[in-house]
């Protein structure tokens, strides 16, 4: 089974986000970048399959410049067999999905994992676009996945519940919490990752459909109004007067 895991290179979840003075991009000073946590669920799930069978090959791919290579090396340290980097700055979800689909189309992957969204753009767009561009079945927001031969049972989050689905490979699955547990790479994995292949692919010219004009920080709260713990009834009366409850 050939598995592709699509990876975004994103600021660590604890990052205090600030932007460049012109508002065009993230201020990267002092920011640690990591594998997008939802993508890492996909990689962890792929590793579960690899540990159960000898014939599972895991490739990881990222659209980004050379700065993203440590993130790809971490994916190799966790256990992916090879890594690919499409050498360009991602412009929007459509351009990323197009670049990955153009590259993956003739590679006959049985299973493609993505995160449910990246924690930088939060658009949740690449998985559905990629499935459509590649013409493969799509299970979104998956919390559980079992594969037996070509048959798949997947659990998909829906409003107020879960839906159980039957599907066939090839398949694209967008992952979220529940599908697998994150893994910490061990020393052997980190050593092995250094010699695993990381191939740089020249990016084709591709259009983007959405342009980011600027970023700004959200307006913060103006300040917390405190009520005494002896008399929390006051808070209820304020919330009620303001029509909040």
């Amino acid at each position: 089974m050939n598995i592709l895991v699509c990876i975004s290179h994103v600021p660590d979840t604890t990052t205090r986000i600030t932007f460049e003075p012109n508002g065009k991009s993230l201020n990267k000073a002092g920011v640690t970048f990591v594998i997008n946590p939802y993508d890492e669920f996909g990689l962890s799930k792929a590793m579960e399959f690899k540990e159960k069978s000898n014939d599972v090959h895991i490739s990881v791919i990222c659209v980004g410049d050379i700065e993203t290579e440590p993130t790809l090396r971490k994916a190799l340290a966790i256990g992916a067999d090879d890594a690919f980097r499409i050498d360009t700055q991602p412009l929007d979800s459509f351009s990323v999905a197009t670049l990955i689909s153009d590259w993956a189309r003739d590679k006959s992957f049985d299973l493609i994992f993505t995160g449910k969204e990246s924690i930088d753009e939060n658009a949740g767009a690449v998985p559905g676009m990629l499935a459509e561009l590649l013409g493969v079945s799509f299970i979104s927001y998956a919390t559980k996945l079992d594969i037996n031969g070509n048959s798949v049972i997947g659990y998909r989050e829906i409003d107020n519940g879960m839906e159980i689905l039957e599907a066939q490979l090839p398949l694209l699955v967008s992952c979220q919490k529940g599908i697998a547990e994150w893994r910490i790479p061990n020393m052997r994995g980190i050593m092995a990752a250094r010699s695993k292949p990381l191939t740089v692919i020249n990016a084709l010219q591709v259009e983007n459909r959405v342009i980011t004009l600027n970023f700004k920080q959200p307006e913060g709260k103006t300040g917390c109004v405190y009520y005494s713990s002896d008399n929390p009834e006051e808070l209820i009366s304020v919330l009620s007067t303001k029509g909040i409850i």
């Binding site: 930088d120 676009m129 959200p218 109004v225 209820i236």
Partner: protein
């Protein structure tokens, strides 16, 4: 520049987020001086459709087909694509329900449209272009974007725009027959498991959330009681879900569910940056924590420094008194 809203049915009813998408579509069409219509797939009572009319949409494309009674991503993409194309709509609007989030990216590919996910409010116009705002970096940034194509697919962030049901009008239903072509990407829905909570966390207008400060799962009774009295959903922080005091579907935060209710009450949650990322677009935040230095107070509108085990029972009594006096 005409607008089509996908008015999603959930067990024969429109949820608030759907009516919000309808209200948004009406406001956007009015800004553009264009037409607006809705598409409704599946069975519902006729009276339900009047809720859309009250939002300001008279024209409803109605699709009834036994193949479409259960949602499937690929079939719903196909039918919505067909209605958009055959009727020349160039803007499609949806909520951010899980089903809508499953279809919008694929639809944007089929419709050769730009996709803007999770808009917060109507666009401003600059140089003849519509500029939309959305949240990025898990709510830690506001991004302004514009589409480079004239055809667009927009999803509206839940609870960011509100429902405006003050219009009157005639209901004009256009039946739409849809014959499914051979669907190669079939996925077969087998079963739906509903979570036990009566209020879905992503739709909830009010949320009461507990953290490690509650010391153990046995102490959640007061959280549930307060939530019940307020008509709120219950939620929890990541550490609480990790040790399985509460089910994972209650975990709000960066890697859990992101919510934006009108009221978020955080009890015994310190307010780690990853937790804030999941709740910082809530309209009013109340924090109850015995540590006056808890970072959450910096993001709160109202705070009580005190022991949850003393404060929460008092709050419960106060809410009961308030309800009795009404």
């Amino acid at each position: 520049m005409s607008v089509l809203v996908y008015a999603e049915l959930d067990s024969g009813k429109f949820k608030k987020a759907t009516l919000e998408a309808c209200s948004y579509g009406v406001a956007l069409a009015s800004m553009r001086n264009s037409d607006v219509a809705a598409i409704v797939i599946g069975e519902c009572h006729e009276s339900e459709l009047f809720q859309i009319v009250e939002c300001g949409i008279s024209k409803v494309f109605r699709v009834l087909d036994s193949h479409l009674e259960t949602f499937t991503t690929s079939k719903y993409i196909s039918v919505i694509q067909k209605i958009v194309r055959e009727n020349g709509f160039n803007t499609l609007i949806t909520s951010q329900s899980y089903n809508s989030k499953a279809i919008t990216p694929g639809l944007s590919i089929r419709l050769k449209s730009a996709f803007i996910s999770g808009v917060i409010g109507l666009p401003r116009i600059e140089g003849g272009k519509e500029i939309y705002q959305r949240l990025a970096f898990s709510g830690k940034g506001v991004e302004e974007v514009s589409a480079l194509l004239s055809d667009i697919v927009l999803s509206v962030k839940t609870n960011s725009f509100g429902v405006n049901k003050n219009k009157t009008g005639e209901l004009n239903v256009i039946p739409f027959n849809f014959s499914l072509s051979d669907d190669v990407n079939y996925i077969v829905p087998k079963e739906i498991i509903k979570t036990s909570s009566t209020i879905s966390l992503t739709d909830a207008e009010k949320v009461v959330s507990g953290g490690r400060g509650l010391k153990g799962p046995e102490n959640w009774g007061m959280i549930e009681e307060l939530a019940g009295l307020l008509g709120a959903a219950t939620a929890c922080s990541k550490p609480v879900a990790d040790v399985e005091w509460r089910p994972h579907h209650e975990h709000v935060g960066q890697t859990g569910i992101q919510i934006s209710p009108d009221l978020y009450i955080a009890i015994g949650i310190s307010g780690a940056i990853q937790h804030l990322a999941g709740v910082n677009s809530s309209k009013v935040i109340v924090v109850i924590n015995k540590d006056s230095e808890a970072p959450f107070f910096k993001s709160a509108d109202y705070g009580i420094v005190g022991d949850a085990f003393e404060v929460v029972p008092k709050l419960i009594n106060a809410v009961k008194k308030m309800k009795n006096s009404l």
